[in-house]
């Protein structure tokens, strides 16, 4: 412990910060994309059209029963095959880019379950009231149900995003340079595992702990008074 060398961290800070920026970019992309796709999946799951229900249920259940590391690797390898099938030529995607896609698709399954319970938390009568006012299905969802569902579920959506932020570290599996990947690469070169891994753990802890406290605070302040 006495020979904990801070200079290793200082020297490599730019590289680590670059990794952290990538982690944040993947997190934000997957959060926005995941919530959008997740909401559509939730609406499909709750619709009265059976094939749509099946599709949504299948999508959610498959992605929720597979380890994320496996999906990351599988998509990294399969995505180029699919693109080649569509466009007919080989397009190198690269590990860093495929992760944006993988996380969006994967997290959509989790966000969809959250949005589903959010939509179900809105009393049925409100949809009826919307229809009575002459709203179409789309309008009733857009102006009545989804805003409330979103607000009710905001803390849970953000908690899921904190989990997502931590899960980005699993791009280690395909060698992309996220925050943890950056630290790992520096370790391979400088052989300072104690300094590097501890830094990663501490930074992750500070960010996630702060965010989870904010979510807790938010939770007590946005509750809808009925």
């Amino acid at each position: 412990m006495s020979d904990f060398d801070f200079s290793v961290i200082v020297q490599n800070w730019a590289f680590l910060a670059e990794g952290l920026r990538y982690t944040l970019q993947v997190t934000v992309t997957a959060m926005i994309g995941g919530i959008l796709i997740g909401t559509v999946l939730a609406l499909m799951r709750l619709s009265s059209i059976t094939p749509l229900q099946w599709f949504a249920a299948g999508y959610v259940n498959i992605f929720r029963s597979v380890p994320l590391v496996q999906v990351i690797l599988a998509f990294y390898l399969i995505l180029p095959l699919v693109l080649q099938m569509i466009t007919g030529k080989q397009i190198p995607i690269g590990a860093a880019n495929s992760a944006y896609f993988t996380f969006t698709i994967f997290e959509a399954a989790y966000y969809s379950e959250i949005m589903r319970s959010g939509i179900q938390s809105v009393p049925r009568g409100q949809v009826g009231a919307g229809y009575a006012l002459g709203f179409t299905y789309g309008q009733a969802m857009r102006y009545v149900v989804l805003p409330q569902a979103f607000r009710n579920m905001l803390p849970v959506l953000l908690t899921q995003t904190i989990i997502l932020f931590q899960d980005v570290s699993l791009v280690y599996a395909i060698g992309a340079t996220d925050f943890f990947g950056a630290a790992d690469k520096i370790t391979q070169r400088d052989l300072r595992p104690v300094e590097m891994y501890t830094t990663v753990a501490v930074v992750y802890f500070i960010i996630c702990f702060t965010l989870s406290r904010l979510v807790k605070w938010l939770q007590s302040h946005i509750a809808i008074i009925r």
Partner: protein, 245 residues
């Protein structure tokens, strides 16, 4: 699409004289072993922490809360790397050497995954105990039970049955999380998956098979715990959300 489907490669011989399906079975064995062992660690420690966080003792609550905050806010893969590469350097030299040389590495992986999951189980156990009315504890104390006895005979038997559905999903998650232990050298299912892809390039077939394996593991765990849930259901208690997975 010029992908070459070949389902028979599972029966081809590998470099070490085995067949590819042997690799999958061996991976499946390790996944099951690591997951179940970690689950035992997590259930024991998680219960202790969960109980600590509901006691009237301030410092026990603080300690339990700190543990949960710490282990929930650092990614699993980082935690595993800490146990493997950092902790042995920080403990006294002879212990560190023993951890690096003599301690089987799967023990560290099991402990790491177990400690990570314990934080989640502690949350569930705490929620279960807090969902009971205070009167149950008071009734126990009025009967002359000690604080510990109110846990042992009154509160925990109820709490576990209430949170069993939540524990079921944690027990299913641990199979998925165990895939991360490949990064510290456990030859479990995901490791074999990665290795078979490198050797054969039959990505689609192996992805389908391994996905099914994980599916089956989670499903079996779900059925076992659903059985336990049905057997231990508290008579007269309204259990909501039955059967919705």
């Amino acid at each position: 699409m010029n992908y070459h489907w070949d389902w028979m490669f599972f029966f081809q011989e590998t470099d070490d004289g085995l067949k590819y399906y042997d690799w999958i079975l061996s991976g499946l064995g390790w996944t099951t072993f690591v997951s179940l062992a970690s689950l035992v660690v997590a259930l024991i420690l998680g219960s202790v922490l969960g109980v600590m966080r509901t006691t009237p003792k301030r410092w026990l609550v603080g300690l339990g809360d700190a543990y949960v905050d710490l282990f929930r806010n650092v990614p699993l893969i980082v935690q595993l790397f800490m146990w493997f590469f950092v902790v042995p350097e920080l403990v006294p030299e002879n212990i560190g050497l023993w951890m690096k040389q003599d301690l089987p590495y799967f023990v560290i992986a099991i402990v790491g995954l177990g400690l990570y999951t314990a934080a989640r189980i502690a949350e569930q156990v705490k929620a279960g105990i807090n969902s009971l009315s205070r009167g149950q504890r008071f009734a126990g104390l009025a009967l002359g039970f000690t604080e510990w006895q109110t846990y042992r005979y009154v509160r925990l038997p109820m709490a576990y049955r209430i949170v069993l559905p939540a524990l079921t999903s944690e027990a299913m998650n641990i199979f998925k999380n165990s895939a991360v232990t490949y990064a510290v050298g456990i030859l479990e299912l995901y490791f074999q998956y990665k290795q078979i892809i490198e050797k054969t390039s039959q990505v689609l077939e192996i992805t389908i098979v391994v996905t099914l394996c994980y599916f089956v593991l989670a499903f079996v765990m779900n059925r076992i715990l659903a059985f336990v849930e049905a057997r231990t259901r508290v008579p007269g208690l309204i259990v909501g959300t039955k059967g919705s997975k």
